[in-house]
C-alpha cells in the first residue's frame, strides 16, 4: 500500500505545468526573434503513460526523474496560428491562451492537494 499515491499525480501534473509555463515564457520572450520556432510540451496524458512505464527504481525510496522526462519532451509546434515574414512562429494570443490553461489547471491542482490534505487531517485528528 502506498499512502501518498493520491497526491503523486497532482504533484506530477504540477511539475509538468511549471515546465510548460517555462516553455511559454521562452516563446513569449522570443516573440520578436527572427527565425524562432514556437515550442510546446507533449500532452500530459502521453507523458504520464510513458513515464509510468519508465518509472522503475532499484529501491523503493529512490526518487523518480519526473522533471528531466518532461523537460526533454519539447516538441516543435507545427500548428501555430501565425508565421511571420521573419520565420518566427510565435503567436502572442496563442501563448496567452496556453498560459490561461496552465493557470487554471494549476489552481485546480492546488485545491485538489488542499482537499486531500484536509482528508488526511480529518483521518488523523482524534
Amino acid at each position: 500500500m502506498e499512502p501518498v499515491f493520491l497526491t503523486k499525480l497532482v504533484s506530477h501534473n504540477n511539475d509538468w505545468l511549471s515546465v510548460r509555463q517555462a516553455t511559454i515564457a521562452e516563446n513569449i520572450a522570443n516573440a520578436n526573434t527572427p527565425g524562432f520556432r514556437a515550442k510546446d510540451l507533449e500532452p500530459f496524458t502521453s507523458v504520464v503513460s510513458k513515464t509510468q512505464l519508465a518509472m522503475t527504481a532499484t529501491h523503493d525510496t529512490h526518487l523518480g526523474q519526473m522533471m528531466e522526462v518532461s523537460r526533454s519532451s519539447d516538441v516543435e509546434k507545427a500548428d501555430s496560428w501565425t508565421v511571420s515574414h521573419s520565420g518566427n512562429s510565435v503567436s502572442l494570443e496563442q501563448e496567452m491562451v496556453k498560459a490561461g490553461e496552465v493557470a487554471r489547471d494549476h489552481a485546480l491542482n492546488a485545491s485538489i492537494a488542499k482537499s486531500f490534505h484536509r482528508m488526511y487531517l480529518a483521518a488523523v485528528k482524534p
Partner: protein
C-alpha cells in the same frame, strides 16, 4: 536543471530587457526624426535598427532572448527644398533623416504588446509559486 518556475522569471526578464532596449532605439529614432547635418551637404541622422537573437542559457536550460546588435538603416535619405537651411547643398536641398514616424509608432505599439505579454507570464509564474506557498499556510 533549475526550477522551471524560477527559470520562467529569468526568461521573461530577458524578454522585458530586450523589449525595453527596443523601445530605447525607437525613442532615439523618433527624437531624431528631424535631426539634420551641421554644414552644407552633411549627412543627417541615420535611422537605427535593432535585432534580437535567442541564445541558449545553460543555467536555465532554456532559450533566453538578447539583443544581437543595433545597426543602421541603409534606406536612402529624403531631400527637402530649403535654401536657407545651414545644411542645404548648392541647389538648396537639405537631406532629411530616413526615419518614418508612422513606422516607429507601429514598432512602439508592437514593443508595448510584447512587453505586456512578458509581464503577464511573469505575474502568472509568481501566482503559481504563491499558490504553492498558500498550501503550506493552511
Amino acid at each position: 536543471m533549475s526550477d522551471p518556475l524560477a527559470a520562467t522569471l529569468q526568461i521573461s526578464g530577458s524578454g522585458l530587457r530586450a523589449q525595453s532596449e527596443r523601445l530605447r532605439v525607437v525613442s532615439e529614432n523618433l527624437a531624431n526624426a528631424r535631426s539634420t547635418g551641421e554644414t552644407s551637404g552633411d549627412d543627417p541622422y541615420r535611422r537605427k535598427t535593432i535585432t534580437f537573437e535567442s541564445e541558449f542559457n545553460r543555467a536555465t536550460q532554456a532559450n533566453l532572448v538578447s539583443v544581437k546588435g543595433v545597426g543602421a538603416d541603409k534606406a536612402p535619405f529624403t531631400v527637402e527644398y530649403d535654401p536657407g537651411h545651414p545644411a542645404a547643398d548648392e541647389n538648396g536641398y537639405v537631406k532629411m533623416p530616413n526615419v518614418n514616424t508612422l513606422l516607429e509608432l507601429a514598432d512602439m505599439r508592437e514593443t508595448n504588446r510584447s512587453y505586456e505579454a512578458n509581464l503577464k507570464v511573469m505575474t502568472q509564474a509568481r501566482e503559481m509559486v504563491m499558490r504553492h506557498i498558500d498550501l503550506l499556510r493552511n
